[in-house]
Every structure is written in structure tokens, then in C-alpha cells.
Amino acid sequence: MTVATTAPPIKTTAAPPALRLEGLTHRYPDGIEALHGVTLDVHAGERIALVGPNGAGKTTLLRHLNGLLQPTHGRGWVAGLELVPANYAEIRRHVGFVFQDPDDQLFCPTVFEDVAFAPLHLGLTHAEIEQRVAAALATVGLPDFGPRVPQRLSAGEKRLVALATVLSYGPDLLVFDEPSAALDPQNRRRLIRLLSRLDSTQIVATHDLDLAWDLCDRAILLAAGVVRADGRTRTVLADQELLEAHGLELPLRRQGRSD
């Protein structure tokens, strides 16, 4: 298996990293080890693509970032808080996790209640919650969708509302699991534009290498639970040999085609 040279991180600042993982390993109860000693730093404001073949451990890695899974070995910090159960409640205030299937994320009877769910659990006042919901829905371009019921939304609308459900509490780190899955080209483009306008640190796990190419400055290639490459997106995703060795292909843009 080809192991690419790890490129230096895009941003190296004196500020503490938004996320630090040191030797993170995760073994599921059935014995499958999905992550082997993952070590990485993510700095505030970075937009990172996490790419890799099916079963590479991308979702498992993301689920550690707000305590949905606990590491078997290794340690991690988010916003300076160690990833241990005692800190999970505070960590979840800093991390906005957008799940792959919006129907998992939109569990309330109305869009408004879904977007208000996190602010409500933060104990905000009624007026503050209304203001945050209005701002979050306006941000995703659906200002009048509060009264709508999730089952009546299109796939693209559900995806945007799912994003609004995390924007409403202002997390520092946004984590996306396959954000462009099941989106048509226009909605995919709309999502990319929207994400590129957000200032939060973003980690995007995706098979959509063109989205990664357009959106992210840095790409991490994960395969069999190991970081195989970490560097500038246009370096990592232009390495045909590396990508093909790990079940991926060059982005269409690099193949001389466009979507």
C-alpha cells in the first residue's frame, strides 16, 4: 500500500489548535479496529476534507469529535477540552455535527423546533432562541421554513435545515458526514457556496472529491484507519497514484472534465 509523504499543515499559528488528536485508536466491540493511532492538529478557521474509501474510518473518526464514541487508546482535545465523558456536554457546545442522513438529524415535528433544539437545551430565553432560529434559517437561505414539517421537505432543503440546526448554537467546529450525498448538482453547488461563506473551522468527510477540491484547503486521506496523507488539497487530490492505491480517483476537474 502506498504511503504518501505527510505534507506540513496548512496553518501553523501560535494559538492552540481547534482540534488535536494524539494516537487515537478505536476498536468496536466486535474486535474491528476502525482507527489506528490517528494523530492530527486542526487549527481555527481551517477547512479540511477527510477522504478515503468505504470503511476507511472517516465516520468513526468524526464521531469521536463530540463524544459519540470514546477512544480505545489515545487522547484528543477540542477547543482545549480533553475528549473525556466529563467534558462531553461542553465539547458538544463547540462542535456542530451534521449527520449523513438528514432524517436522523431532523427529529422534531417542525423545522423551527429542530433548529431551536440546541438553543433550548442551552437554556436560552425564548427571545434569544427565536432570534437564533431566524438567523440560522436566514443563513441557509430558508427564512420562512420555520413552520414546515421535515417530511415535506426536499432532500436539498433537508440538508440545509440540518445545517441550520447546528448553526443556531454557534459551534466553533463544524463536522459534516457526506454533506453532498443525495444532492442534485444545483443543491450541491448551493451547499458548497454556503459552506465556503462560513467562518467556522470545518471538517468534511466525503467521497465527493470535487467538493473537497472546491471547498477545502487541506485534505486528509484516511485508509484502513490510518492517516495516509495530510496536506494541501490540490497536492493530495492531484496524486493519482496515491488516490488509486486507496480506492479513489482523481477529481473530475483533474481529469479534464467538469460536473
Binding site: F97, A118, G141, G146, V149
Partner: protein, 277 residues
């Protein structure tokens, strides 16, 4: 409770450079403000809490009718008909929802005369139909029809989301309301999943539209497993957004005065009829 100890983010919640439509009014705490279809009928405008409490009062009055009482029953039925006239529309939807309860009521009404002890009227082989059984069946049919008649009206005139919010704000146990809310929300997700499973089965069985019993139970088993998987993912999504075991009740606007007045009037009439007739 973890969420109680969380501090409110004191920075700008949405670090966005620009955004369309900011400042627009998107108030949407489930209630009258969530309605978009217009114009609404009087019953549709009423606060869900008011309708639930009226329906509860109605049910209490109806189930306390001990003997078949034609004048009272007819008056109550006329009251339901008057409410239906007031509603004016959705009569077909109302009748369909009313009909959903009929099979369960019919089974009980048919069986009761055979299982209530008392004066035997007819002998059908080993089975005996008793006078007391017939009275009980008649009373059950009357009570059930009147209760379902009003509940179906509440169901037709109140969106699911408002019904859930109304139950929550009336202080019903959070677990009960939560189960009801998730059931209503995910029925809309599981039904298409069942159709997909069904279609996949049909595609592999070359046009056999009626599956054998074993195949049907396999489908239901597969659906149950999928539902379980989804439940775990939904629980994760809730935890990721701060849920730690309790669902705080959102701010509740008081019902408008006209709704309260209408409720008081309705309950007074129902109780008075129950006492006088």
C-alpha cells in the same frame, strides 16, 4: 442535568459574512403562528391545549352516561354535528379518521353481549346473549362513537406538531409525549422504507404481488431492524445537540382570550346537558 450547567455562547452565533433574508420574522413556536394555510376555520384557529382540554371534558361527561339515554345521546350527537358544520370543510377527512376507530369498536360491541352475565335473551349453541350484555354493548357503542367523533374533529383541525406541543405544554409526561412525537415523525420515514423493501421483494419474485406469510414477516423483521438502527442514530443526533435526558418545554404563549372563552362555553354546555338531561 448537564445542559443546565452549560453557559450561553457569548459570541456571535453565526459568523457569516453575508446572508439573505436576515431580520425576517420567522416566529414558529408551534401554535397558531406555525400555520401557513389561510383562511383558517374557527376550530382550526383554536389553541391545541384548549381543544385537548375540551375533548377530555367531553369524554368524561360521555363515559359517565350509565344507562342508554336517548335524549342526552341525541343532543350530544347534535352537538358534534354542529361542530362539524362549524368546521365546514375536511368532512371526508373527518369521516376517514372516524372510520379508523370503527373496527376496534365493532369487535367489542359484537362480543360484549356474549360475555356479560345476566338475563339470557337468546341461546346460540353454547353462547348466550344477555340483556345486560346488550345494554353494555349499546352503551359502549354510544360512548365510543361520541368520543371518537370529537377526537377525530380535534385530529382533523390540529396539525400533528401543534398537538404534540399542546400535550407537552399541558404537562403530560415527557416520555409519553416524546414517544408520540417520534412515532408521528418517523412513521413518515418508515412507511417509504417499507415500500422500498416491498418493491425490492416484488422485483425478485417476478410479479407475485401477494407475498407468503413468511416473506411478509421477514419484511417486518427487516423493517424493525432498520427502525432500531435509525433510533440509535437519532439518539446520537440528539446527544450531539445537547440532549441529556430531559426535553425542556419551550415558552408557551397563553391561549388567546377568545379561545379560553370558547372552551369555557363548550365545557359548560356539555356539563349542563349531562346534568339536566
Amino acid at each position: 442535568m448537564h445542559e443546565k450547567s452549560l453557559s450561553v455562547p457569548n459570541r456571535t452565533p453565526l459568523p457569516l459574512r453575508e446572508g439573505p433574508g436576515e431580520g425576517r420574522d420567522t416566529r414558529g413556536w408551534t401554535g397558531a403562528l406555525t400555520r401557513t394555510a389561510a383562511p383558517l376555520t374557527f376550530l382550526e384557529q383554536l389553541d391545541a391545549r384548549v381543544k385537548i382540554l375540551c375533548a377530555l371534558s367531553w369524554a368524561i361527561c360521555v363515559v359517565t352516561i350509565r344507562r342508554p339515554d336517548l335524549p342526552l345521546t341525541a343532543t350530544y350527537a347534535a352537538l358534534v354535528a354542529a361542530l362539524l358544520v362549524l368546521q365546514r370543510r375536511s368532512v371526508g377527512k373527518y369521516l376517514r379518521r372516524f372510520a379508523t376507530a370503527l373496527p376496534a369498536i365493532a369487535i367489542l360491541v359484537v362480543l360484549l353481549p356474549f360475555f356479560k352475565e345476566g338475563t339470557v335473551l337468546w341461546q346460540l349453541g353454547p353462547l348466550e346473549v344477555t340483556r345486560e350484555g346488550l345494554y353494555a354493548a349499546q352503551r359502549l357503542a354510544t360512548c365510543a362513537a361520541l368520543c371518537v367523533g370529537v377526537l377525530a374533529l380535534v385530529w382533523v383541525t390540529t396539525p400533528e406538531a401543534e398537538l404534540i406541543a399542546g400535550l407537552r405544554r399541558l404537562g403530560l409526561p415527557a416520555l409519553f409525549v416524546g414517544v408520540l412525537a417520534f412515532m408521528l415523525r418517523y412513521l413518515h420515514v418508515l412507511r417509504p422504507e417499507l415500500h422500498r423493501l416491498w418493491d425490492a421483494r416484488a422485483a425478485r419474485t417476478i410479479g407475485r404481488h401477494r407475498p407468503p406469510f413468511r416473506s411478509a414477516t421477514n419484511l417486518l423483521g427487516a423493517l424493525a431492524l432498520r427502525a432500531h438502527g435509525r433510533a440509535e442514530r437519532v439518539a446520537d443526533a440528539m446527544a450531539a445537540r445537547g440532549y441529556a435526558g430531559q426535553w425542556p418545554v419551550s415558552h408557551a404563549h397563553d391561549p388567546p382570550a377568545h379561545a379560553t372563552l370558547a372552551a369555557v362555553l363548550f365545557v359548560s354546555v356539555v356539563v349542563l346537558l349531562r346534568i339536566l338531561l
